[in-house]
Amino acid sequence: MTPEQGTRQVRPGATGGGHGLGEPATAPLTRDGPGAGSAVVVEHLGKRFGDRVAFDDVSFEVGYGEVFGFLGPNGAGKTTTVRTLGTLIAPTSGAARIAGIPLSAQNGPAIRARISIMPESPGLYLRLTVAENLRCFAGLYQLTDARDRIDWALQAVNLTDRAGDLCGSLSKGLRQRVALARALLNDPAVLFLDEPTSGLDPVAAREVHELIGGLREQGVTIFLTTHRLEEAERLCDRVAILNTTLRLVGRPAELREQLFTRSLEVRVRAALGDPGRVFTGLPDVEGWAQEPSGSYRLTVSDPDAAAPAVARALVNAGADILSIAESRHSLEDVYLELIDEDVEAKRR
């Protein structure tokens, strides 16, 4: 399957973003090509472990300063993709450029110097203090201003007062924050966050969300791997949905529009005698159906334009209107729709 066949590319509108996101995800990998201004350019990337396909034919771009969500069910290949882009794993096909550097084993140290990955598990040295953990990594990044960077990173995650605490004594949420501080040490061009709120309670997860939100405001490019859809919807400029192959890339709102028709949900006190006569021919109303709950779902081209006409028609028909509201689909609906399609396709 080619990306053109398998991936739905949703391009932002004329007003959307300044990150070069409107470029096709299959832009050629030339230094001065369309992807040159992007933090991450991935082209037909794939990885197999023997006969098992981890991910295949994945193409997308991430602009500088963008928060890019990478969604997918367990085993979809999200973490393997991140590890591949982080040069921990060699791809079996395709190409990529990370922070302007072509992905190759030879460029591994240079790429790893320009990015950070916060793995799902914090992986801290539990017998070392927070500051000692960060000092070790400052040494690995060869930071000349290590002390300042450590102070800054601790401040960024609100852990300055816990610098002397042993990591083993910290809660799971605090350990996650230390891991985030560690990932910020080298001022990465791209920050990969792999399931950063996995296993955290809602309060700790909210703290991590706030930190990511803060980094976003500072213009840090973030590649967020998650299966928490509300997290992606809240934090990400664009999302990609992966299920071994890339299923869809775009802004959450655009994905909703692409997958679902826009509709109005009309609730009236008593069923209409002849709904066809009420709804047919109204401006912007393309169709209607009665829901099992008794309400009516109207397919519309523009909900804002259609709603007043629908209200007038209902009043003229003598109906008691309880509500007229646009049906809103969440990112979760988009996600489940796509994953269900995959399940259905496999069944066939």
Partner: protein, 244 residues
Amino acid sequence: MSFSWGRAGAIFRKELRDYRRNRFVIATMAFLPLLFVVLPTIQLLLINASTSSAKLDAHIGLSLLYMLLIPAMVPSVLAAYAVVGEREQGTLEPVLITPIRREEFLVGKALAVLAPTLGIAYLVFGIFLGVAAIFAQPGAASAVFEGSHLLVQLLFTPLLAGWSIWAGIAISTRSADVRAAQQLGVLASLPPLVIVALMSFNVITPTLGLALGLAAALLIVDVLGWRAVAAMFDRERLITGTRS
């Protein structure tokens, strides 16, 4: 990017801090040398004026060979933990995500095992020399302080440690389980014991020439060992468990 001693040093310092805070590591490092110093010391103190010259040489030679078991045995458990231990506690991936090269990582790890091993081995040997100088029969003391014996001790201590360290790290790099790696690491440090046994049963006569020959062989093994372990260190396999 060329080899960076700074990055190797970051691993080295982190390891030493970690050892200091791990009672199990400190206890293991202290206990083994104590065990190996007791027997040679008793043997040394049992030598009296009537002991024949040949017997004296054999006793001293054997005592000093026991000393050499310290650098062979002490680092085996730590070296065997070096990679698989980090992998098991989830700290390997964050390190491998940094620009560190495998050679830097391995050198940092190896030096962190070598430094305390040498410290302990030389300290114990120093104690042994002190006991010999103060309490041993004068003939035995002068035999202990013989130049060739001192040279062999000084030379063999780092070489044996190097052999044990690279064998341990090689096992650690290929192993998926800490306990299995440590058991294999101890087994890998056994060949020196075989030599000790052969010498104690007079199958091999300990001579200076033999010692220098073994030292040269160990030096070659140590250099090749570091190269071989670096070649075996596969990021992808270590992270995913699957060969790249």
